[in-house]
């Protein structure tokens, strides 16, 4: 079992121009804790929508690399989007699910993954060519390669410990997060 903060920090280290969408709740705090960046689009709501935001971005910017970092509960609410992504086959999109098998924000109730619902199996069935599970730090190197460089769509399930971690809160102002992201992306185009 992985420490979620350490996992996200390791996978986002030296991230370059990676564009990151974070699912509401703990994944947003984990991505912020790994280092705030204008290339992060933090979600504070819209549960179930993270993967589709990633798809819209991936289709709009085929030369950029997009990572969606979300939780098991958020991903479960948008399982249909895996089928939609499977249809479009975006090579530049990777989804990392931090699976603690619980709904952390609402009191640590069990999620479906705790009962054996197999998200990797679902991603495979949705034609994700790269699917991978990690539960040890020794697997970070391979997970980094998949997240940043593999021919996608990529689906990574990281088994993380069920634990409450101190919240690291980025801005909650959706307009600010959006404008900052847009300005940072525009700067990438100027280089």
């Amino acid at each position: 079992m992985l420490d979620r903060r350490g996992c996200v920090r390791a996978l986002l280290a030296e991230r370059g121009d990676l564009l990151v969408v974070s699912g509401l709740g703990a994944p947003t705090y984990d991505v912020a804790a790994a280092g705030d960046s204008p290339l992060n689009f933090y979600l504070w709501g819209a549960m179930g929508g993270a993967a589709m935001i990633g798809l819209g971005l991936a289709l709009a910017r085929p030369k950029a690399r997009i990572a969606v970092i979300t939780g098991d509960g958020e991903m479960l609410m948008g399982l249909g989007s895996l089928a939609t992504i499977g249809v479009k086959q975006p090579q530049n999109l990777a989804i990392l699910v931090l699976d603690n098998r619980h709904y952390g924000e609402t009191g640590m109730q069990a999620s479906h993954t705790q009962y054996g619902i197999d998200m990797i199996g679902i991603a495979k069935a949705c034609r994700f060519p790269e699917t991978h599970t990690i539960s040890r730090e020794s697997e970070f190197t391979e997970a980094r390669r998949l997240l940043h460089a593999a021919h996608g769509p990529v689906f990574i399930q990281a088994h993380v410990r069920q634990e409450e971690v101190a919240r690291v809160l980025p801005s909650r102002d959706g307009n600010e997060i959006k404008l900052r992201f847009l300005q940072a992306v525009a700067k990438l185009d100027q280089v």
Binding site: G45, A46, L55, G56, A60, R61, G80, V87, K178
Partner: protein, 177 residues
């Protein structure tokens, strides 16, 4: 062929022309009889990426992602799909994303299926409560002007706008079996 009458009506072509004029690059949709001609135009257009969705709320995320990537997107859905989107529309309001939605109406005029009425009768109210401006079109002659205005406003002002294509415009659904 899907069972909607008047697949020969050309008003969907006027919508597609506005999509091109407005440089809309992504179109999300759930397959729909009333939108079938427009969907086909979008699929055939090399400048538009068509994204078939499993549920309409996915399209709201798609619009947000496209906008973050510097592109314009539009959504096509049936009135029932508006109900599927309601919480996800908070993304549009929270971040002031432009959002252009074309809604084919059911449950309001010569509807043969009573199960369409509960959602069809509240679709426009729901959209307004979610912060959308709504335009309604009953006559084919109005499609070009109204959809053109909606495209311009949505992207000029980061405004959510829904154009309701009425059941009278689309035509009576024929139950052929």
């Amino acid at each position: 062929m899907d069972p909607t009458v008047d697949q020969q009506a050309t008003w969907p072509d006027a919508i597609h022309a506005h999509f091109r004029r407005a440089r809309i690059r992504q179109v999300g949709y759930v397959p729909d009889a009333g939108h079938s001609r427009l969907i086909q135009r979008c699929i055939e257009d090399p400048d538009i990426i068509d994204v078939v969705l499993t549920t309409e709320e996915e399209g709201v995320g798609l619009v947000a992602g496209a906008t973050l990537g510097g592109e314009r997107a539009a959504l096509l859905m049936q009135s029932s799909g508006v109900g599927n989107c309601i919480n996800m529309f908070s993304l549009i309001r929270s971040c002031s994303f432009p959002c252009l939605v074309l809604v084919t109406m059911r449950g309001e005029f010569a509807e043969f299926n009573p199960w369409q009425i509960p959602m069809g009768s509240i679709t426009e109210d729901c959209l307004r409560l979610c912060g959308f401006l709504t335009y309604r079109i009953d006559h084919p002659d109005d499609v070009d002007e109204v959809v053109g205005a909606a495209c311009d406003m949505a992207f000029a002002g980061n405004v959510p706008i829904a154009v309701l294509l009425s059941q009278r415009l689309i035509g009576r659904k024929v139950w052929s079996k």
